[in-house]
Symmetry: C2
Subunit: 366 residues, 2 copies
């Protein structure tokens, strides 16, 4: 069996397309995990991550050798002990995953539930914080299942007023829309390599604030133990054999972010998102969240009545080699998830997708 | 800062060199984690892993999205509950790591300790099995810190006679020397992608026997939960966003193993190891383990008296762009660790290294 050998336009919820520069990085000559030329790339990544997260220079930033889900688990494993009281904002699939994972690590979990497709009301979070004491408040910034942006700055301010640590999932926001780890008071934040940053998946950027570093627990996981990871990333002590191609790709992807300028990159994502919304309106299609709550990176488009949504996706994939995503959980069959992220966030892609989608919708009437 | 752009001959304890075919695979067009063309590669990998592990067709084989250390943790996390009684063979650094990780997952750990540089005596394991009851017996097949091969078949037979599950670390043996998961009665085995298989690091092949699958515990880790991983690998249900380049590289590396033939590949490693030992003898150098206990994949060479070992490694790296490894733990400064693994196991590399090493030793007298 051979490998895929034709291009595919990746406009689903991630991975996003890889640029020529990042693709070339994958093929750079191998180095081992302790080679001076490899660890120099780790230093480069650490510095760039502090900047892309907008973190305190005294924070600890590195990339877990795994996907975004391993980043979520690393943050939880290093900050949760049995009996930790955790308040989790659940407005979609990934909020549920946060709650599940915190419970696996022994936390006493309370959920603030919100409608799938809407942002959480900070007043609902405040009400819970007044009712009980929490060690941790966890929230998904960009809820990939619904296309909604939660008000992290407001939630973090409330959580800090009650002395809780703030954990934020930035898997679908990092590099694509405003995220201000230091200014908002986020204590631990994780993301992935394959969305706003535009690298392949397999590395999970994480950052821990100075306050979080003072509250690390005895980590049960060895692979995800932050102190052991810092031994490697900072002190060059063997912990695991990091993947050179993924390090190279992430380093170059972060280099592209810096060359473009982080704020210019956010603005590009915003502008492309607005153009996408207008293009959908011309097709008579609407987005699930109200305008102020929409992500710029990932759009959730309601499937019109009388359309076979699986057939639409299949036609786009097979006829146009364009991938878009399906709904998850209660939104399965209800929405398309369309990502315009990283190097994929272009007006050209909006145009190409709109044209293909119009044809696919026409042919998928039931 | 730019990426490495010169070749380096990787003859340390891993990663091993990547062949042109595997390097090309990294650059194949991206697909998402649920793309039909990507999941077809997962099926290809599952089948090839059952064959390279020599596992029961009813076993579960897949690759964890992480390094070999994540494979170790995945096996432990899915088979250890608080209070599990574990007997661990410790003859080096990675045996110690097994004991540490089992303890982190709540196991009651008993160690059978052996000399660093020697294989364990199965009688020592048998004595402990007679003294107490154990749920798990864990052993490193190819101890990367000492260059020694432990008698896994004997230990597994003893463990089965006492109804314990057998966990085996095959990080430095898979694809390079005989490993017979089914015939030896190994219940759970993990490895890495970047040694005998010749892919870059970042994927950890694991296999669980039918007996192990009946004894899975409630896994605390979400990322490493075998049932969730099987939901993805077998049932196509989203769990994490697997890294397409690493999947491609592992699939092609396993394809190379099958094209060569597994037994022919073992024989190539044996033959190259023998040639290496002879070449070292010509330089007056000896290996740490006695001949019958030596790995074919990784050679541990005693540093001769009066030589600055760090200077030798530095000179090889900087002048010849050849990497070899240093000793770990109590063997730091005592040995060089020289891997001839995967596509790096060639007579040409033995010759090139011997010549360079002779010069470096000459210039590193203290």
């Amino acid at each position: 069996m051979s490998l895929p050998n034709t291009p595919r336009l990746l406009l689903g919820p991630g991975p996003s397309p890889v640029s020529a520069r990042v693709a070339a990085a994958l093929a750079a000559p191998q180095r081992s995990h302790l080679d001076p030329e490899l660890v120099a790339q780790l230093d480069r990544i650490r510095g760039a991550l502090l900047r892309v997260f907008r973190a305190d220079p005294a924070a600890a930033a590195l990339a877990i050798s795994g996907t975004g889900t391993s980043g979520m688990e690393a943050v939880i494993a290093n900050l949760t002990r049995p009996g930790s009281r955790a308040l989790v904002v659940v407005t979609g699939y990934f909020g549920e995953r946060l709650a599940t994972m915190l419970a696996r690590y022994g936390a006493d979990v309370t959920c603030v539930e919100g409608e799938w497709g809407r942002a959480i009301d900070p007043a609902a979070v405040e009400a819970r914080l007044k009712e009980a004491t929490f060690d941790l408040v966890a929230v998904v910034h960009a809820e990939t299942s619904t296309g909604v942006c939660n008000p992290v700055a407001d939630i973090a301010r409330l959580a800090h007023a009650h002395d809780a640590l703030v954990i934020v999932d930035a898997v679908t926001s990092l590099g694509a829309m405003p995220l201000e780890v230091a200014a908002w008071g986020v204590d631990a934040c994780y993301s992935c390599s394959q969305k706003g940053l535009g690298a392949p998946s397999g590395m999970a950027p994480v950052v821990f604030s100075p306050r979080a570093l003072e509250r690390l627990v005895d980590c049960r996981s060895f692979y995800l133990d932050l102190n052991l990871l810092l031994d490697y990333w900072v002190r060059r002590k063997y912990h695991h054999t990091i993947s050179a191609p993924l390090v190279y790709a992430l380093a170059e992807a972060l280099g592209e972010v810096e060359d473009e300028g982080l704020e210019a990159r956010w603005e590009r994502h915003r502008m492309v998102h607005e153009a996408f919304v207008e293009a959908m309106a011309r097709l008579g299609l609407t987005l699930l969240p109200p305008p102020p709550e929409r992500l710029w990176s990932l759009n959730t488009v309601r499937v019109p009545a009388g359309v076979d949504e699986a057939r639409v996706r299949k036609q786009l994939l097979e006829r146009e080699s364009i991938e878009i995503g399906a709904g998850l959980g209660p939104l399965a069959g209800q929405i398309f998830r369309i990502g315009l992220m990283g190097s994929g966030a272009t007006l050209e892609n909006v145009e190409r997708l709109s044209t293909a989608l119009a044809a696919a919708l026409q042919e998928s009437r039931v």
